[in-house]
């Protein structure tokens, strides 16, 4: 590693290295402090070092909330381990705190004996007051049960970038990298991935490349030299399935999944969208891949976004739109039309906490019933949900495949936690991805707009511009086969049932349901979406106590897997934990006439493993 002459000479302080199995770190500071960035870069470092990991970014909706306030605190939690992990961890082992407000908000979660690194420069009287501390916790002994490392991060950062002619404001913005450097040293994570990232990110402003790298290295070297750090921790690489890996967030995986699917279908991709948290990053990422025959269209609103996507689908492209709850509501009328005209359309709902504007940056799973039922009349669509950030890729791909195969709208339900959360992702080989076989009808021989494939019940996809196949489609009731406008009562019921049957037949494409744990027993836990990690860990731990609990995680919510009924029968009780008031629960109870119980949390945060275990144990003991 190269050293800057600006950093002080390093006396060799003997340091011990302790090996740990799993560490949970939470970075927190003002929303302008760059804590999300520090967290993401730390995640990348530990990913490259080969550990398993899971993350939980947690930030306010305000871009730059007033400095030092409790509501302006932005945090990023990362759990990394030498074994398989599934959640960002219930309680952190380490807090990296950039100000008193951050400490105030996060302290209650820290494990006893945990580490606190705090920027002393920010523990001013004024900031302490804003955070509601009467005296400085760094000095009043209230943190005695923790290991506290007070470091003047601000001052040291300024010193590290001295001589670069930056004004103090710009210079002190580098302190997130100082904190990252120090944390990287403490947990023996390599900083070169971060150096490469800085070089790429600030390519156009060399002085910022220099400043941020200096701050990063200064933090790292401070750990090496400062006597207060006697121990360095090491977390060995995890034994993951062999292969090539990268770190990926759910939104990134979603974007790549859509692009991969359009590529495998050999069709242009049209993404219509209107910016909304936490979905915007999918639009941003897809927009950077124009060379893949990708159209991205930032519409005037969500209605136009889905309308344009449907227009493109009508023209023979893969039409996709991305949104979150409030935008989802606006799209339903267009999805209703897509159901009627039987065109493929993919709608990604990256759910957030509501209702209404709610808590835009927090997670929730409460759009499920809206996705399945929330349209006028009988309006069946396919509904899918990925379970992990990496899985977003495969389910996004699957959404496109099913939409094209069955000529039907598919709603893909991610959420804020999956969207921004990251995990190591085994990179698939393109050749292993299924081919999406789209046949546009070109032959006028015997053509009728609503003739159906006998197996899938899909009607033919016909591109305008195909000679001899001119025809009209629309939202008015259609006569079977001909597609002529028809108000015939019997025909109407027939068409309603045909559209429902077509969606029901998607079940043919659903793989066998995987039961984690024994195939039968006392308690079956059924989950969907982003609760996967917490449910896996909770059920595994309770099972390890010798108890009978199994876990099924649904990726297909409409239609439901055909074997689910049989699986449910083999258990005495069923528990459906969800981040809503019991939406899948209602469906399970109605579909399978089982007295399933719910476990529900609507706080904008994922389940903690501990609370799930408690509920599972309770049910097993009842």
């Amino acid at each position: 590693m190269t050293t800057h002459t600006e950093t002080p000479p390093r006396p060799q302080v003997p340091k011990r290295t302790e090996e740990l199995d799993e560490v949970v770190i939470r970075f927190a500071g003002d929303s302008g402090d760059g804590m999300q960035l520090a967290g993401m870069q730390f995640t990348n470092e530990t990913a490259v070092a080969g550990t398993d990991l899971a993350t939980l970014p947690d930030f306010p909706a305000e871009i730059r909330a007033p400095a030092g306030t409790l509501f302006g605190v932005s945090g990023f939690q990362v759990n990394f381990s030498s074994h398989d992990i599934f959640t960002p961890g219930d309680n952190p082992d380490v807090l990296v705190m950039m100000n008193p407000a951050a400490l105030k908000v996060n302290l209650r979660d820290l494990k006893p004996g945990g580490i606190i690194i705090a920027d002393t420069a920010e523990f001013t009287e004024n900031n302490l007051k804003k955070a509601g501390f009467a005296t400085s916790p760094l000095e009043d002994g209230s943190l005695a049960k923790y290991q506290v490392f007070p470091v003047d991060i601000t001052q040291m950062t300024l010193r590290a970038v001295e001589g670069l002619n930056l004004n103090t404001k710009v210079a002190s913005r580098c302190k997130n990298f100082y904190a990252l450097g120090l944390t990287s040293w403490l947990f023996t994570r390599p900083i070169d991935p971060t150096i490469r990232w800085i070089e790429g990110r600030f390519k156009k402003t060399p002085e910022l490349v220099d400043a941020n790298i200096r701050a990063l290295k200064a933090g790292y070297h401070f750990g090496e030299t400062a006597e207060m750090f006697a121990v360095q921790y090491e977390v060995k690489p995890a034994r993951l399935v062999p292969g090539k890996y990268r770190n990926i967030t759910g939104n990134s995986a979603t974007a790549l999944g859509f692009i991969a699917a359009a590529e495998r279908a050999g069709l242009p991709l049209f993404l219509g969208s209107y910016p909304i948290t936490p979905a915007s990053d999918v639009l941003h990422e897809v927009a950077s891949y124009k060379n893949f025959n990708v159209y991205t269209f930032q519409a005037e609103d969500e209605i136009a976004a889905v309308g344009a996507a449907l227009g493109a689908a009508y023209g023979g492209a893969i039409g996709i739109c991305t949104t979150s709850g409030p935008g989802m509501l606006l799209k339903q009328e267009m999805i209703n039309l897509a159901v009627m005209v039987e065109l493929p359309l993919i709608i990604a709902d990256i759910q957030r906490a509501g209702p209404s504007t709610g808590m835009p940056t927090k997670t929730e799973q409460a759009d499920l019933l809206m996705a399945i039922y929330g349209r006028a009349s009988e309006s069946p669509v396919v509904v899918l949900a990925p379970a992990t950030p990496g899985e977003c890729f495969f389910m996004a791909f699957e959404a496109v495949r099913l939409a094209a195969k069955y000529m039907v709208p598919v709603i893909y339900m991610s959420d804020g936690y999956l969207a921004n959360g990251a995990e190591p992702w085994k990179i698939p080989k393109v050749s292993e991805l299924p081919q999406i076989d789209v046949q546009f009808r070109t032959s006028p021989e015997g053509f009728q707009p609503y003739l159906r494939d006998p197996e899938t019940l899909a009607r033919a996809w016909v591109k305008p511009g195909t000679p001899g196949l001119e025809h009209r489609i629309g939202g008015l009731a259609k006569e079977d086969v001909t597609g002529h406008v028809s108000y015939d009562p019997i025909n109407n019921e027939k068409m309603v049932r045909l559209r429902a049957e077509k969606v029901a037949r998607v079940a043919m494409d659903i793989p066998r349901t995987d039961v984690r744990g024994d195939p039968s027993g006392k308690l079956l836990v059924i989950g969907w979406g982003s609760t996967y990690g917490a449910l896996v860990e909770a059920t595994e731990r309770v099972r390890a106590q010798g108890k009978s609990v199994s876990h099924v995680h649904l990726r297909y919510l409409n239609p439901l897997p055909p074997d689910l009924k049989e699986i449910i029968r083999r258990f005495e009780r069923v528990l459906v934990p969800e981040l809503n008031t019991g939406q899948l629960l209602k469906i399970i109870r109605a579909e399978y006439l089982v007295d399933a119980k719910g476990m529900n949390k609507i706080q904008g945060y994922p389940f903690k493993v501990g609370e799930l275990m408690q509920k599972i144990q309770e049910l097993l003991e009842e």
Partner: protein, 339 residues
Amino acid sequence: MSQAATPMLKLTRKDFMSDQEVRWCPGCGDYAILAQMQKVLPELGIPRDQLVFVSGIGCASRFPYYMNTYGFHTIHGRAPAIATGLKISRPELHVWVVTGDGDGLSIGGNHLIHALRRNVDIKILLFNNRIYGLTKGQYSPTSELGKVTKSTPFGSLDYPINPIEIALGAEATFVARSVDVETKHLQETLRRAHEHKGSAFIEILQNCNVFNDGAWEPITDRATKGDHQLVLEQGKPLVFGKNREKGIRLGKDMNPEIVTLGEGVDTSQLLVHDETNPSMAYILSRLGPQFPTPIGVFRAVKRMTYDEGANAQIESAKKRLGPGDLEAILNRGDTWVVK
């Protein structure tokens, strides 16, 4: 284009009539508009399969069902959005949008504005009958103040909007007005819209003889139309009147004024129409009630279209970055191998 090699097509009006029975009320102005479209299209030499009519909801919006081309009858107010997605991804198609005063200016006002502002190469026909026809006669955003309808038994309270002003305000590159019964004028205006590259907007004054009969009577009635129509012609002075005896010039206060030709006034003092002059379009769009109603092309200018731009971006990205390499983007960033 797949049809480039086909010799000049000999299509007739009949070729553009679909097998569906037309279901507008007898006497409705929509029939005349349909007929002019079916007359103009064969002369354009475009194969039927290259034409797409996209509409919203309303009497007007039933239009696509009667055209033997591709057609998409969508939902209320949203046709411009759907047409935009289609045109961007299939720029070679000829995409027409049919909408009404309620569909296009009430529920769909926003989409109309944005489609025009983007200059997507679609042709938007707004059938303005100043009423909600399909829902049986409620007032619309173009109904006159105080309009008594079933939903406004004591008269409507909102001021009407002027579709031409909306289109100009949205920076549409082609803005015109025509009339259902002015068959030749309407044909010519449709042809001009077709020839225009970019978003074209035509307000077509249309009579709903059931719920708002005679809404445009002064402009359409043989006896009065001379005084009430101002036919715009590029490069020609603004002359009107039964005997073409009146003209419009700019007064000292910069406001337009009506003058009678002869009494010391000749056409050289009149305003000369210029479709490329934004001030001219603006003045014409805002002539007060004492003035005749201009029909014809208010504005026709050239600008890059959205669909051209979108496709050019893809081509330039391919040139700059090479064609998309899926393997490469999946493996982007820091990677590591687990053995």
